[in-house]
């Protein structure tokens, strides 16, 4: 059981961080909200495991890329809300450009492979 979670964390680590930071760009959000937002924005494809989400949130907080505050929700419930810090914003920019490079590179490789197989 433990292994299932731990493998997921490793697999998603960089990507999940990027997704969390990106989600928080539109405003502060709590853990549940973040997971729902990622799910909705990916058209229900990406389901974030809580066993990965909360460790990631607490890790990002420790790295000072996000900060947490307690707020009271519309249902009068105390919730922990995360927001992007300035350092987090900078980090997000660099992570996004790295991601763009990576995805271009992969697309390039796939594209050329496709052409070859067509030729």
């Amino acid at each position: 059981m433990a292994n299932r979670y731990q493998n997921r964390i490793e697999l998603l680590q960089g990507t999940l961080d990027l997704l969390i930071l990106q989600t928080l760009r539109w405003g502060a959000q709590h853990g549940y909200g973040i997971s729902q937002a990622i799910r909705a924005n990916s058209g229900d494809i990406l389901q974030v495991d809580t066993g990965s989400l909360y460790p990631a949130l607490h890790r990002l907080e420790r790295q000072k890329w996000i900060a947490a505050d307690w707020k009271v929700s519309e249902n009068k419930q105390r919730v922990r809300v995360y927001r992007l810090t300035n350092a987090g914003k900078k980090h997000l920019v660099s992570e996004r450009s790295r991601w763009a490079q990576l995805s271009d590179a992969i697309a390039g490789v796939l594209e050329s492979a496709k052409k070859e197989s067509e030729a």
């Binding site: 979670y5 853990g31 607490h58 929700s73 919730v79």
Partner: protein, 876 residues
């Protein structure tokens, strides 16, 4: 600290709340979509996953979590141990034995073998192998290009006379540069200066701290005063610090070497001594060795006669530490190996106890892992419990180590180098701490690895202790087999050593030690310079001693067998041509009064013994030789009437008789390997003096045949001697048996220590077998019940269980015997008269181990026999 804890607690609560709110929101959303409240909540929970595990992995991101978890584990472990006082006591006791023994032995190994010598830059200090005479030392000191060469004699004894009763002190003669090169400073006054070892300048002495306190009542003005040593007045120039015990712990004073080239016999012939040196800056050990090689021809050329071609060919330069420790090293390392094995047995035992308990705890562990504890976390929990156990064992073991160390110090030979300085100190503390933790991990890891692999559903469902138990009991059987194997090795080693000791003590020494008391009579060397004075003194003394009550007979000799006192005479043997490359005959000389052979019970094999006439002024120079000397130099011939002489003299001695060989050097060898034969000369004017012209030796040992105990005899003897001369100390009043027992002190101490270890190993092994069989009986109660219900007889059950124990033991013994065949080879040098693969010892130990193991499984077997089938079947 408190604040940190408070904050941490707060964070835990916050995480809790965060997750709660998550679940709450998820459930609310489902309710909004139309699910019922209960359905929504459980679905949200299912979707979330394992709450405890999520918390656990999240907390891990905070850092420092391991410390917190460790504390948690330790607290939990302590609670479990407190709840099982019996288990805890047995485990801790086992560990105390194992760790205590290891700590005690390690402190000795550390103090004797590992700790650097207490001098500046100790790694630059070296020693030459082999002994050299004074003349050779001077050549090397003056001509070495790589070393500052120093020399000191082995322990020498000195009479201190003056105010009180005369006393005999142990000292050493050292070259003038000795203290300076070693880097030792006096606590008061000064050490020797250059050239103070030349004749005329050497009437100086340096005192040890303890001698200064004891004998001179810590006189602050001692420096500059004169004391009388061996009848010579010497000026005290310094007092050494209390911790300076070199070259021997017994050394009480230091005098300069008397380097006088005019005393040819002494300077070149007789006083061989160890030579050591400090490497000069920038030179290596290899360069020093090469230097020694080029010095050798120069040394040989300086002799007044031709030395054997092969002398000192093998002499080399080794570190001083290695030279001091010498052959003690092997014994100590073997002892360390033995206690290491003992600790392994202790570990296996505790691991087994833990295994048995882990089987009972499987439900607990399954529950914990169902609640989200990771495998690693559970394993760590179990290991921290065992580390707690072993640290407890280590702490108590440390307490017993001090006690063990004092036993060890009493058991080990007192002349073991550096033993006096050994104590339990910080280094030993660190060793024990590390050892305890390692031990805990070692024996904790085995059951932990097994327990954390628990099959969840099976364990929880059967509710019993069956799931996974088979794997564990295979493991514990393996552990017991190993335990028995290691115990077998230890018991065999002990058996071999005890047998060697028995052989040694029962070797025929070549003389009859029964009812003989010995006493060393030590007038000053100068006392015998006047012709006839010594002879008259000893004649009178022997006459008076013979009249003492209970005395049957008395004689005297210059050095007793096994006493470590010997005069060596490089000789020419008539008709014997020294083969090229071989050395000249080196003969041990015993100067004896005519009755010596009779008193000692030494058999005369050929020719005649000495008579009073042989001791007269105008007597012919005659000698007796030992049997092997006769066979070596006059093989197949009658040696009676043949001749030999010391190299530096012109007169020849005539062989008049042949006597039996005896253990002169040690209980294992008649003569040291640098000696080629033994001669006996009569105590008289023609006794050969190893330092020059003929003169009877001043110091003799009386051998007295009496039915009285040595202690009762001492007073009588002392008063007889002081009536004759008030300045002559009497020392070493002991039985001849005492000398023999001293000669085997080393082997005896090794044998007794090994016997203790072997006994402990045997007990621990038996406990191990008992534990495993009892556990298996408890596990098989149901099976045994079924067997009996089906008609198995009680004896059959007994056989079944005992057979199981015997099978384990047989496997262990077989492995142990094979292991012993390999390992006991390492202790070949400690064995005497028994081979390392002695069949009888192996067979006896094998049978012993089988018996013990069978006996250990008999107790649980009885319990199995009494199982009531009905109760057993209802048991579940």
């Amino acid at each position: 600290m408190r604040f940190a804890f408070w904050r941490r607690k707060q964070r835990h609560e916050q995480l809790e709340e965060e997750i709660r709110s998550h679940l709450e929101m998820a459930a609310r959303e489902r309710v909004d979509r139309g699910e019922s409240r209960g359905q929504a909540e459980s679905a949200a929970r299912r979707e979330f996953g394992n709450v405890a595990l999520v918390k656990d992995v999240t907390r891990r991101q905070w850092g420092w979590i391991w410390l917190e978890e460790l504390l948690q584990d330790l607290r939990y472990g302590a609670r479990t141990l407190r709840k099982n006082p019996c288990f805890t006591a047995v485990a801790v006791l086992t560990l105390v034995l194992g760790i205590g023994a290891n700590t005690a032995i390690f402190s000795i190994v550390d103090g004797v073998l590992l700790r650097p010598l207490p001098f500046p830059q100790p790694n630059r200090l070296v020693a030459l192998t082999y002994y050299y005479p004074k003349g050779a030392f001077v050549v090397m000191r003056d001509q070495s290009r790589t070393m500052d060469v120093v020399a000191n004699t082995d322990s020498t004894e000195f009479n201190l006379t003056g105010a009180d009763l005369p006393v005999r002190l142990t000292g050493t003669s050292v070259s003038a540069n000795w203290f300076a090169v070693l880097g030792a400073q006096a606590a008061m006054g000064r050490t020797f200066r250059d050239a103070e070892d030349r004749p005329g300048k050497d009437d100086l002495v340096i005192l040890s701290h303890s001698l200064w306190q004891r004998r001179f009542s810590s006189d602050p003005n001692i420096v500059g005063r004169s004391v009388i040593l061996e009848g010579i007045s010497r000026q005290v120039v310094g007092v050494m610090p209390a911790d300076f015990r070199f070259p021997s712990p017994k050394t009480e004073l230091w005098v300069p070497l008397d380097l006088d080239p005019r005393k040819t016999g002494d300077y070149w012939g007789s006083s061989y001594m160890p030579v050591s040196a400090r490497l000069r800056p920038g030179t290596t050990l290899e360069q020093a060795r090469a230097d020694l090689t080029q010095l050798r021809p120069k040394v040989l050329a300086a002799f007044g006669w031709r030395m054997p071609d092969d002398i000192w060919v093998k002499s080399s330069v080794i570190s001083l530490q290695e030279a001091i420790v010498g052959d003690v090293r092997t014994s100590l390392l073997i002892l360390l190996g033995a206690v290491g094995l003992l600790l392994l047995i202790a570990c296996a035992n505790v691991a087994n106890l833990l295994l048995a308990r882990a089987a009972g705890r499987q439900r607990e562990i399954a529950l914990r892992s169902a609640l989200g504890a990771g495998r690693w976390r559970i394993a760590r929990q179990l290991v921290s419990e065992s580390v707690l156990l072993s640290v407890l064992g280590g702490a108590l073991g440390l307490g017993t180590a001090g006690y063990g160390l004092s036993i060890l110090k009493a058991t080990l030979p007192a002349d073991m180098p550096r033993l006096a300085n050994v104590s339990v100190d910080t280094r030993v503390l660190v060793f024990t701490a590390l050892l305890s933790i390692l031990t805990g991990i070692l024996f904790g890891l085995v059951p932990a690895a097994g327990a954390s692999r628990v099959d969840l559903t099976k364990s929880l469902k059967t509710g019993g202790d069956r799931g996974g138990a088979s794997g564990n009991s295979r493991l514990s059987r393996t552990l017991v087999i190993c335990e028995v194997a290691v115990a077998t090795v230890l018991v065999i080693a002990a058996g071999l050593l005890v047998k060697s000791l028995w052989n040694l003590s029962n070797t025929n020494p070549g003389f009859r030690p029964e009812y003989i008391v010995t006493a060393r009579i030590t007038p000053n060397e100068s006392f015998c310079e006047a012709a006839g004075r010594c002879q008259t003194f000893y004649n009178d003394l022997l006459v008076r001693v013979r009249t003492l009550p209970e005395v049957k007979d008395a004689a005297a000799v210059n050095g007793l067998p096994l006493s470590g006192i010997w005069a060596t005479i490089p000789s020419d043997v008539e008709g014997y041509a020294v083969p090229a490359g071989a050395h000249v005959p080196m003969l041990l000389e015993r100067v004896v009064t005519p009755d010596y052979l009779r008193v000692m019970g030494i058999p005369l094999l050929q020719g005649r013994s000495f008579t009073e006439a042989d001791t007269a002024e105008n007597a012919q120079r005659v000698a007796l030789i030992s049997k092997s000397t006769a066979e070596r130099y006059w093989p197949g011939k009658n040696p009676i009437g043949e001749h030999f002489k010391p190299r530096w003299m012109s007169q020849w001695w005539t062989v008049v008789g042949v006597v039996g060989d005896m253990r002169e050097f040690s209980m294992t060898r008649n003569l040291a390997d640098w000696l080629d034969g033994a001669i006996y000369t009569p105590y008289g004017p023609h006794a050969i003096n190893d330092s020059g012209p003929e003169r009877p030796p001043a110091e003799l040992t009386l051998v007295i045949r009496t039915s009285q105990a040595a202690s009762q005899f001492a007073g009588d003897l002392q008063s007889v001697v002081s009536q004759l001369n008030g300045d002559v100390p009497v020392t070493q009043i002991e039985t001849l048996h005492g000398w023999i027992s001293e000669a085997v002190a080393g082997p005896r101490s090794t044998a007794s220590l090994f016997s203790i270890f072997a006994a402990l190993a045997l007990v621990l092994g038996a406990v191990g077998v008992y534990g495993v069989i009892s556990y298996s009986v408890a596990q098989r109660t149901r099976e045994i019940g079924i067997r009996m219900a089906l008609g198995a007889r009680r004896e059959e059950v007994l056989f079944l269980v005992v057979g199981q124990g015997a099978k384990l033991a047989a496997a262990g013994v077989a492995i142990g015997l094979a292991g012993a065949l390999l390992l006991t080879r390492l202790m070949d040098s400690l064995l005497y008269g028994v081979g390392a693969s002695d069949l009888k010892t192996y067979a006896a130990v094998g049978i012993l181990l089988m018996l013990v193991a069978t006996a250990a499984s008999y107790i649980p077997a009885r319990r199995a026999m009494r199982v009531d089938p009905i109760v057993a079947l209802r048991y579940e």
